[in-house]
C-alpha cells in the first residue's frame, strides 16, 4: 500500500527508519497537525516495520502526543500546586469565558483546545500556561485576556 501522507514520508526520510526515530516522527506529526490520526499511526508503523499496536502504544503513553483532533492552538494551563495556589482557577475561568469552552474541549471553529496539565516548571512565576510550545507565566485574568485576544485575532 502506498503512503498517502507526504508528511509521513518526509518525516521518516528526515529521522530515519529505526525504532529510535519513532518519538521524533510522532512529535513531527504533532507539529504539523496537532494530533496523530489512526491512519498516521498505521503508515508510520509500515514505514518503520513495526506493528501499528507498537506505534499506538507509544503515542498514547505521552500526554503531548495527542491522538484525537485538537485545535490549532492547544492551551495547557498548569494545575500543579504553586500555580494552583496563585490563581490558576481564575486563569482557567477567564479562558473558559472568552472561548466559551470548558477544560478538555475544543472550540467549534477548531482554533483552540483548552487543557490542564502538570507542572510546567514555572513555579516561581505561577500561574503559567503553554500555548502550543510557547510559555506564558505570571498570569493574571487581565494578562490572560490580552494573550487570548491576540491569539483569537491570529
Amino acid at each position: 500500500m502506498a503512503t498517502n501522507n507526504n508528511y509521513i514520508t518526509e518525516l521518516v526520510d528526515k529521522h530515519g527508519r529505526a525504532r529510535t526515530s519513532l518519538m521524533p516522527i510522532l512529535q513531527g506529526v504533532i507539529e504539523k497537525n496537532n494530533f496523530i490520526s489512526d491512519q498516521d499511526m498505521t503508515e508510520i508503523a509500515m514505514e518503520l516495520d513495526l506493528s501499528p499496536a507498537q506505534v499506538y502504544g507509544t503515542a498514547t503513553f505521552y500526554s503531548f502526543l495527542e491522538t484525537q483532533p485538537r485545535g490549532k492552538y492547544v492551551i495547557r494551563v498548569c494545575k500543579t500546586i504553586t500555580c494552583d495556589m496563585h490563581g490558576k482557577r481564575t486563569v482557567v475561568q477567564t479562558i473558559e469565558d472568552m472561548l466559551k469552552i470548558k477544560v478538555g474541549e475544543t472550540s467549534p471553529n477548531k482554533k483552540f483546545t483548552l487543557l490542564e496539565t502538570n507542572c510546567l516548571g514555572w513555579c516561581h512565576e505561577g500561574p503559567a500556561m503553554l500555548i502550543n510550545e510557547k510559555p506564558f507565566s505570571g498570569l493574571t485574568p487581565e494578562k490572560v485576556h490580552d494573550i487570548i485576544s491576540e491569539y483569537m485575532h491570529k
Binding site: 529505526a18 525504532r19 529510535t20 526515530s21 519513532l22 518519538m23 521524533p24 510522532l26 512529535q27 504533532i30 507498537q54 502504544g57 507509544t58 503513553f61 505521552y62 500526554s63 503531548f64 502526543l65 494545575k79 500543579t80 500546586i81 504553586t82 494552583d84 495556589m85 496539565t117 502538570n118 507542572c119 510546567l120 516548571g121 514555572w122 513555579c123 516561581h124 512565576e125 505561577g126 503553554l130 510550545e133 510557547k134 510559555p135
Partner: protein, 388 residues
Amino acid sequence: MSDTKLKRVDLIFGEYSNVKYKVLADTLKRTNEEILEDLLESGLRGRGGAGFPTAMKWKFTAQTPGEEKYVICNADEGEPGTFKDREILSRVPRKVFSGMAICGKVIGAKQGFIYLRGEYKFLLPELIKELDGYNEFAKSIGLDFPIGIRLGSGAYICGEESALFESMEGKRGEPRNKPPYPTTSGYLGKPTVINNVETFVNVLMIMRLGSTQFKLLGTSDSRGSKVFSVSGDTPIPGIYELELGMPLDRFVDEFGDGDTKAVQVGGASGFCVPRKKFKDTVIGFEGVPTGGSMMLFNSSRSMYNVLHNYLEFFEEESCGQCTPCRVGCQQLRKGIEAVKKSEKKSLYLDQLLKLSESMKLTAKCGLGQSVANSFSSIVNNFKEEMIY
C-alpha cells in the same frame, strides 16, 4: 546584604572562561585516572535528587567492557517546584556540554544526548545554535563526541532513568527492572552514564577549581553548592545557588514570608517539614535531600489541598505498569477524600499510611516508592487538617 544571610555562591551561573571551551580543552589533556581521582575526592553526588556519587557511576561505566557507550544528560525536569535545569540550559549551556564531553572521554563514549522535556521545547532554537557551536569545536580539536538532543512529550516518569531510555528507544516510558543498572545496560542496552544537568556543570567546576576548593563549600556529607528552585509563599521566588548542608530554619528566615507553616523539600516526591522541625532539619544528603525544589506554604494554606494536589499528580503521572503504584495512588487520593468527607473514620488514615509504606516496598520505580515521602510527612504532621 547583611552577613546573617545565607552565603550566595556563583559557580554554576558564573561567567564562561575567556577562551571558548578552555576548561574542557585543558581537561581533555589529563588522564582518565586523574579526572576520576579529582571527582572522587570532591565528593560530588548527583544533583537530580537521588545523590549517587558521580565518580562511582562514571568509574563503573568506564570499567564495563564495550565499544558502544553513551552519555545522557537528563533534562526531563518534571518534579513540581523545580525549574533550575531550564535556567542552567538557557544561561550556561556550554558548561553542560563540556561536562558531558569530559564524561565521554572518561567512559569511552562516542555519543552524547540531552533528553529535554517537551514542556521546554521553546528552548530548542537557542540550544541547537549553542550545540552546533560545541559540535564544531569538538570536530576542530579532533574530539569524537557529538551531542544530540531528544525531546520528551509530557511524561514526568521519563525523568526516571530507565524510563528515559525506553522513551529514547521509541517506546512507552515504562521503567525497567533493576538491576541491570545503566552502568552496564542503559540506552539500547549499552553501558550508559546518565546524569542531571546540574551534575555535569558541577563536574566542569571541579575541573576548573580543583576538588580542594570545591570541598570548601557544603558539609562532609553534602559537598559543594546546589541550585535551589524557591517557590510558593515567598516574597522572593526564583533560582538561588546556595551551599549544601544549611539548616532549614535559616532558609525559612531568608525566604519565608514570616508566616511559613511548612516547607516541601524535594518536590511532590520529597518531604514536608512542619514549622516545629525547621530548626533540626538540614538540607542535604545527611538530612533531607532535594533535587532543588523548595516550596514554602504559609498558614493560609490547607495542607489537605497540598497533599490532594500531589496525589492527583502522581495518579496521572504513574505509568500504570505496576499495581502498587497504579492502584495505590488512586486509593490514597480516594482515601483522604473519604476521611475529609467523614465517610471514613479518622483511623482510616493509619490504613492509608500502611498502604503508602507497602508502595514504598513494592513499587517498581522511584515514582511509586516515593509517594510515601510526602504522604506520610504531610499526614503525620498535619493530621487535624486531613480530618477537619
